[in-house]
Structure formats: C-alpha cells, structure tokens
C-alpha cells in the first residue's frame, strides 16, 4: 500500500495570499469521480484487465477512489497502485531536486493489461509523457488510458485525457489547486487563483 506522501509546496497551496474561487466543491468532486469511474467501465466493457495507477501524490488518492467505485459497481476488486514519474521527468534540472515517491505496481503487473493512469490536473502534458515512459520500463500494457479530475488546457505535448472530471478553461497565469480529504486533511475542493506566471 502506498501511504500519502508529502508533496513539495503545490502551486496555490492553502495559505497563499492570492484570493481564490472554488470551482469544484466536495460534492462536485464526488460526482465527477463517480461519472469517470462509470465511463472507464463502460469504455472497457467491464472491469476485466483494468489496472488503475495514480500518479503521486494526489493522483494516487484519486486512483483509489475510482477503484473503489468500480469495485462497488463490478462487485470485485480492481487492482490499484502508484506510478512515480520523478525519475522520468524532463524538467528535473529546472527545479531543486525532489525525492522520488513510491511506485507500487499491484499484482499481477501491467503486461497485457489496460492501464488507467490517474492524475489530479492535466496541464502541459509533461507529467503524462513521463508516466508513459516510466510505464514502458515496467512492462507492456495492452492499452493505456488517462483519467484526470481537471483538464485546465495549455497542452505543450500531443496528449489528451480519455476521461475528464471537469474541463476548466484557465489563463496560464492562474493557479489551479486540488485538495483531497485523505491527502490534505481538508474537505475536497478545487480552487482557482490568480497568480504569477510560472
């Protein structure tokens, strides 16, 4: 099992001075995740061969929630784990070193499975690119799908999500921040704040 791990300061972390507005409430998040879980099952024609891998840190919590919903629908557990992408990032040299987080691939691995990658916010697409690379070192899935809670646009790579909780048009100067109960200790919410361009 992965335990939630502390992240470096997230953009727009609580306590920052910029005024923010809530775009998704706790019940919005819950509804969106339930819908996404159903979409995944529908698309996959059931839960067979699915492996849900969250990208640390909040993607792992979201992956677990999605898997839980799927299990309740399907009546059997859906393998869920974590895929750390730190060592595969292309922007490592742009920031201070960060410690890689735990990768946890559930039995029986990913070969010939349908891997659903889960992240909280889809932005440039670089994290997903790194995740695809990390995945290819671990095995050869039959297919890889991408589920995100929020797609805020501004892609820098030809990557798109298969399942999106909420499409959120943003300016690139704005900061989107996701809070999840089991990860942050506060009620689920997605907020957006004006911020310096990064």
């Amino acid at each position: 099992m992965t335990t939630p791990v502390a992240t470096p300061t997230a953009p727009g972390a609580a306590g920052s001075a910029a005024p923010s507005r809530t775009v998704l409430s706790a019940s919005d998040v819950s509804r969106a995740l339930r819908r996404v879980a159903h979409e995944i099952l529908e698309h996959n024609k059931g839960g067979a061969d699915l492996v849900v891998l969250g990208i640390p840190s909040r993607g792992v919590a979201l992956a677990r929630r999605l898997a839980a919903v799927m299990e309740s629908v399907e009546g059997r557990p859906v393998p869920v784990g974590a895929l750390d992408v730190t060592m595969h990032r292309d922007d490592l040299r742009r920031q201070p070193t960060r410690s890689p987080m735990h990768t946890d691939i559930p039995e029986p691995g990913i070969d010939d499975k349908v891997v659903v990658l889960v992240d909280d916010v889809l932005y440039s697409g670089r994290t997903v690119r790194a995740a695809l690379d990390a995945l290819s070192d671990l095995g050869r899935p039959r297919a890889v799908r991408l589920a995100v809670l929020v797609d805020r646009g501004h892609r820098e790579l030809p990557i798109r999500a298969d399942h999106v909780g909420k499409n959120l048009p943003t300016a690139s100067t704005e900061r989107v921040s996701v809070r999840l109960l089991e990860h942050d200790g506060v009620e689920d919410q997605v907020t957006i704040a004006a911020g310096e361009s990064r």
């Binding site: 939630p4 791990v5 502390a6 992240t7 470096p8 300061t9 997230a10 972390a13 609580a14 306590g15 750390d84 060592m87 595969h88 490592l92 040299r93 742009r94 920031q95 201070p96 070193t97 960060r98 410690s99 890689p100 987080m101 735990h102 990768t103 690379d133 070192d137 671990l138 809070r179 990860h183 942050d184 200790g185 506060v186």
Partner: protein
Amino acid sequence: MSTSARPLAPPHRRVRRHLLSSADLDRSQVRAILDTAAEMHGVQQREVKKLPTLRGRTVVNLFFEDSTRTRSSFEIAGKWLSADVINISGKGSSTSKGESLRDTVMTVAAMGVDALVVRHHASGAAHQVSQWVDAHVVNAGDGTHEHPTQALLDAYTMERRLGDLEGRHVVIVGDLTHSRVVRSNLITLRTLGARVTLVAPPTLMPSGIGAWSQADGFDLSHDLDAVLPTADAVMMLRVQRERMSGGFFPTPREYTVGYGLTRPRLDALMAANADAVICHPGPMNRGLEISPDAADAASSLVLDQVSAGVAVRMSVLYHLLAGNDEGEDS
C-alpha cells in the same frame, strides 16, 4: 508549505552541492537519500534497470587508489541512471612527475564533467578537489578520513533488517585509526539516532578519541565481550596484517582472541539477541577479525551491503545531480 492539518513527512533540506563528509547530511537528508535508495533498490529488481534521469550528464570516477568494488558500484549506479560514466585512474600522477593534484583534477574537469567521484589515498583530497572545480564532488573514500557513501549503505542495510536505527546499539570493532569507514559511520549512525560503541585496543584508536567521544556522544571500550550482549549490530572492520610491523598489536592470534568475531562470540551475540546483525565493509580477513562462521551466518549482511551499494550510490548521484543548482540550502 501546506497548512493542512494532516501530519506531513518533514521535507528534507536539499542535499548540498557535494558529498564530502557524512557531516554534510542532516537527518532529513540522510532520510531522503535512504528512501530514494529504497526506490532504486526496487528498480534493480526490474527487468529494465535503466532510468533516463541523468541522460546527458557525465560522471567521472577519478580514482587515485584502486578500489574495484567502490568504483564498479559507482559505475553501475551512474549507468543505471543513464549518465555517461568514465573511469580515470589518477595513480600515475604524483609529485615526481611534476604534476600537482590540482593539475590532474583541473585537466579532467576541463573536459566538462558534471560530477567527480574521487577516491584518494590522502585524507582531505575530495575536500580540496571540491574547492577547485565547478563539478559536483562525491567523496568515495579519502585516506583515513571518510567514506560517506559506505556509511549510507551500511545504514541502509542495517535499517532493512533492524528497522529504524533510533536507539539501536551499533558496535564497531577493529582498526579505527586507519579506517575511513568508522569516521563516516560514526557521524551517520549518530545522525540517525543510533547508539555507537567503538571497540579496539588503545593502539588502534585515533588520537584524541576520548575528547571526541565525549563531544559527539559515543562510547569506547577495549572489551568486546562486555559490549556484545547489548549490540543490535556489530560492524567488524578490516585489520591489515601490516599493522603488526607498526607495533599496533603483537600477533594476529592475539588480535583474534581479543577483538575477533570468533565462533564463541558469535554464539554469545546470538544468544543475547537473536536478531542482531553482522556487517563488514570488506574486504574481509577471514580468520583474523571475523571467523568464517560469522561472515557466512544468517545474521551477516555482508552481501546485502554490496547490493545496497549500487542503490545508495544511485540515490546520491540523483540527489546531487538531478536538480538545478539554485536555491541550495533553502
């Protein structure tokens, strides 16, 4: 930092530019390196061991003293992180050739390297090198001074068997005077909260060790049998037979009787604490400081130490090289 109510693992201070001494690392940094090493260890079990992380970076193993084990460990670590690793033997360079250490180092650095892994027969050499070059410098053993990556891998190996080392009793036995391993281990083990006792005949204890032990909070003993029963880990250091000619001890036989991990001592250790572990940084003098029974016992971590070496050195290279160089010590 987040202000959430949930207890967060404390963030570690960034590992500094160089790793010259174990004292360069505070507890959070040791923790970060050991945790990353655990992830790297996981990668080692995979079919595809190579990570792209240090692609395009160049690591030079600059060894002024032979050490196949340490050099290959760093070499594999660098390669599994996709760095280009070059081995340079600095052995031929000496005063007699008229080339100074600085000349040798500057020549290598001028080739545009990102990290220099330095092994030297002289204490302080890595420290000196770090003042001359822009590259990151890793001390891979300097004279009788330090060997910080060895201490990290020892701690890593011990933790995997013993769990958290806080409050654990580690006994280090052998030629302390001439050991770089003991100096680094003392620091790293104390940083992790372990209790350390050094055991050796007085002739093999470094000068000033009494004041040192008081200042840094570790224990000294000349009586191995008295400290073994409370040990969670026993680290046996290599004793070179040449030391006899320096008059450090009379005969190997006498040394073994006084300070060797013999079969009866192994039995006594296991009787007192069945979970106790035995380490040796190698190469071992079987029959002198460690009996074959002890070296090959189930409680021996000797081979684990070697395999942990690569993971720990991957982690060190990662923490030194992966990020940018700004905001150090932030």
